[in-house]
Amino acid sequence: MALQTKVTRNSGARLFLQSVIGRSYPRVIGTQRDLSWLFFDIFLPFLTMVGYVYIYRALKAPEEYIGFVVLGSAMTAYWINILWSMSSQLYWEKETGNLALYVMSPTPLMAILFGMASGGLFSTTIRALVILVVGNLLFQVSYTITSFWALFLVFVLTMVALYGMGMMLSSLFLLFNREAWHSANLLQAPVMLFSGFYFPVSAFNFWVAAAASIVPLTLGMDAIRQLVFPSTALLGFLSVKLELIILAILSVLFLAAAFLTLRRMERLAIKHGKITDRLD
């Protein structure tokens, strides 16, 4: 019964890359295998978007504000993904027993987190695009893109910083020793408020907006609004250039923090037996 197939093992960067692809696979494949997301992640956020659009219509707001809502609703998909599928994910993985297997494997946990993030980013982008396209068709939002490359750079940096934050939170959620469900709920609504998903963040005073900028979506959305609705540029919180610089700094900071908290989490979890939490 000796095994006929021999296996070799890669290490270093190749192992890291393989692990990223391996862990992103369930997220990518899940998009086509479990179609319930079409209802829960598209139809229901769409209804919420419609609600906010009609509030602005009732208040007789300028048409750009309808665009803010459509854009904000598309970006909501990323925030929900960060909370429920990134930040809470290591906790769920612990509950199912996967975390122990990840820790025990030779791959660095950072590769697993990168895999979750890239898979999540892919599937969420599909959701966000659907919401954006449907919203635009329904409410006829008109965009004037002033600089495609600036827009592209803003989006990329926002996503790197945001998913970096998600990776950091996933370790913190595990360390909090609270059920991840509650921690995600704690953050969901306040960030929807302070990051300005449905209105320009400049509506708050400077210090509140500055504090809210710790969540990369705040500056990301503010810059995107300035770049696609130039007529509302005056409502911008900071200049796009400055926002790009801050987003770049946030990207580095969050990725570094993710790396450090992950290492600390792993060390503490091994010390206190929190990876499996079961006594025997």
């Binding site: 479990d34 829960f40 009732a58 509650h182 704690l186 929807m192 320009p200 509506a203």
Partner: protein, 294 residues
């Protein structure tokens, strides 16, 4: 064990009241988080206040303030009381999922000599009670920080009580309809009640009058009891301002109450029919003791 000893008639069925009381107590134990201030704060304070604050800022950026205006007060009250819609609708479906997937006790409830709808009704009452605190906190926030003109002396308490009870009854019927559907849904239905509740916001006239909507959507709103209920709540809480809200201005309070009563009866009958149908399908498919894999 003792129940068998104290109840000689082994076929005795617990009364509906007992079933209701027990399930309401059970729901309360599960839903209320008084012992954990952290969790209480999340669900009863932070979430509702944040949602209300989004509306406050939206109003602020367009209208530049004036929180005492009829437009804002009506919007704010509509939003605050809409929390109850989500809770009532969520209550039943969440109870079914929680019992089936988490505690895995739904099958035991089914084989016990109790009426399942009464049990589910009891469980949803707890989530409504918890939501009531969120409503109170949201209203309190508006009165204290936004100086909203809600004066207790001017409230029409009789109208408020009648509208509240009828509204909750009809909402629970709606919840039972959704819950019946939950009986046959496999995955991902945890947020169904809450999300569908959020979807109903559009058709409820809670945060904007139905007249803003395209005409076919206005018809949907008129076929749902929520818009009548919220209109009554506004007229009871802030009589002058509530009257100014551009919905059902040609209908008197009494007429609205009668409409709501009619809705309650129709929805109760519908809920009973729908429950019966889905309950049959669920048992036929073997869904009662199902545990979904995620």
């Amino acid at each position: 064990m003792s129940s068998a000893e104290t109840t000689p008639n082994s076929e005795a069925k617990p009364g509906k009241l007992l079933t209701f009381r027990t399930s309401a107590w059970l729901g309360w134990m599960i839903e209320s988080n008084w012992t954990d201030p952290f969790i209480f704060a999340i669900y009863s304070i932070i979430r509702p206040i944040s949602t209300a604050a989004i509306l406050i800022v939206m109003y602020l950026v367009i209208r530049g303030g004036d929180f005492g205006s009829a437009d804002f007060v009506n919007l704010y009250i509509g939003n605050a009381f809409f929390i109850l819609v989500g809770a009532a609708i969520q209550g039943v479906s969440f109870g079914i999922l929680d019992d089936r997937e988490h505690y895995r006790t739904l099958k035991y409830i089914y084989i016990a000599p109790v009426r399942v709808p009464v049990y589910l009704f009891g469980r949803s009452v707890a989530s409504i009670l918890v939501a009531c605190f969120s409503v109170l906190i949201t209203l309190g926030f508006g009165i204290i920080f936004l100086k909203m003109p809600i004066a207790l002396a001017e409230v029409k308490w009789g109208l408020f009580a009648a509208a509240f009870v009828l509204g909750m009854a009809v909402m629970i019927c709606l919840g039972l309809m959704l819950g019946s559907w939950t009986l046959i849904i496999k995955n991902n239905a945890w947020s169904l009640g809450e999300s569908l509740g959020a979807g109903l916001l559009i058709f409820s006239g809670a945060v904007f009058p139905l007249s803003v909507l395209p005409v076919p959507l206005q018809w949907v709103g008129s076929a749902l009891p929520i818009s009548y209920w919220l209109t009554l709540i506004r007229r009871a809480l802030v009589p002058g301002i509530g009257r100014a809200y551009p919905m059902y201005t040609n209908l008197s309070d009494q007429q609205l109450i009668l409409i709501l009563l009619g809705f309650t009866l129709v929805y109760a009958a519908l809920a009973a029919l729908i429950y019966k149908r889905f309950d049959f399908i669920a048992r036929e498919r073997g869904n009662i003791d199902m545990v979904s894999n995620y």
